[in-house]
C-alpha cells in the first residue's frame, strides 16, 4: 500500500469582494491497479477512449488534463468531455484545464471524448486501498 498526497489550491483577488484563497490537502491510501502519468490521443468516440476500467464497486481517484494540443501537436480550442461509460457526461474541460475526483460505487468506468478532431489528454488513476 502506498500514499498519494493531492493538494488543491484556489485563489482569486477579484472573484468576490473578499479574496479567495484556500488550499486543501488529503492523504490517500492507494493499492493496485494504478497508472503513472499517461498521455493519449482522444477521438470523438468516447467508447474508444476508456481510461479507467469499470469500478465494480471500488473507488478510483482520477486525474485528467486537456493539454491544449491535438495528435499532430497543433493547438486546439475544442473541449474534452469527461464521461462515465455509456456516454454520461460529467463535465467538459477546455485547453489547459484539469480535474481530480473519485469515481466508484457503481460498475462504470471513465471515458474521454473530443468535441471534434483529436485532443491529447494526460490522465492517471489510483485505486483506493
Amino acid at each position: 500500500m502506498a500514499t498519494l498526497t493531492p493538494t488543491l489550491t484556489l485563489t482569486s483577488s477579484d472573484a468576490t469582494a473578499d479574496d479567495l484563497s484556500f488550499s486543501v490537502t488529503d492523504t490517500l491510501s492507494i493499492t493496485v491497479p494504478h497508472t503513472g502519468l499517461a498521455k493519449t490521443s482522444v477521438s470523438t468516440t468516447g467508447a474508444n477512449n476508456i481510461i479507467q476500467p469499470a469500478t465494480d464497486g471500488q473507488t478510483y481517484y482520477v486525474y485528467v488534463k486537456h493539454t491544449g494540443v491535438d495528435a499532430s501537436s497543433s493547438s486546439v480550442t475544442t473541449t474534452l468531455n469527461i464521461e462515465l461509460t455509456g456516454d454520461v457526461v460529467i463535465g467538459k474541460l477546455a485547453a489547459g484545464e484539469f480535474m481530480f475526483m473519485p469515481v466508484g460505487g457503481h460498475s462504470l468506468g471513465v471515458q474521454l471524448q473530443a468535441s471534434s478532431g483529436t485532443i491529447i489528454a494526460e490522465y492517471a488513476y489510483f485505486t483506493k486501498a
Partner: protein
C-alpha cells in the same frame, strides 16, 4: 472580469520506484473565451444529518448548457469509514471518504438531470464543504406556499 486560479499537485514517494510529482495550474475561463468565470456560490459549509440525497445546486428549468462550471466538494468528516455519494441527477459519480475532495467541471445539460447531489453514508451528522465557480446558473423560482 475575475481571475481565479486553480492549482493541483499530486505527489507520492512510494507509488513507484521513482517519485511521483504532478503539478498543474490554470485560470478558470468562460466557455470558449479568455474571460474569467465571474460567478460563484462562495465557499459553503453544511451539516447533514440524514442519508437522503440533497441538491447542492439545482438545475430547475431553463439550463445553461454549454456554459462552464467548476465544482469543489470536500467531505470534512474525520471518521475514515464515513463517505458521501456524489451524483449528477440519478447518475452516481463516486464516493468522497473522510477528508477527500474533488475538483471537476460540471455540465448543466438538462433540468434536474444535471442537479448536483450528495448523500451522506450515515445520519449521525457529517460536515461537507462545497463551492461552485461558474458563468451563471438559473435560480429556482420562489414558492411561498
Amino acid at each position: 472580469m475575475a481571475t481565479t486560479t486553480a492549482s493541483l499537485s499530486l505527489t507520492s514517494v512510494d507509488l513507484f520506484d521513482d517519485n511521483l510529482s504532478i503539478t498543474t495550474s490554470n485560470t478558470l475561463n468562460k466557455a470558449g473565451l479568455t474571460e474569467g468565470l465571474d460567478q460563484t456560490t462562495g465557499l459553503n459549509k453544511t451539516y447533514l444529518t440524514a442519508t437522503t440525497n440533497v441538491d447542492i445546486i439545482t438545475v430547475p428549468g431553463a439550463t445553461k448548457d454549454g456554459k462552464q462550471n467548476f465544482v469543489y466538494i470536500c467531505n470534512s468528516s474525520e471518521i475514515a469509514s464515513e463517505y458521501i455519494v456524489v451524483s449528477i441527477g440519478d447518475k452516481v459519480i463516486g464516493r468522497l471518504y473522510a477528508g477527500d475532495f474533488m475538483w471537476t467541471p460540471w455540465n448543466q445539460q438538462a433540468a434536474h438531470i444535471s442537479d448536483l447531489e450528495i448523500a451522506p453514508s450515515v445520519a449521525t451528522g457529517m460536515w461537507v464543504e462545497y463551492m461552485i465557480i461558474n458563468e451563471g446558473v438559473v435560480l429556482a423560482s420562489s414558492a411561498d406556499s
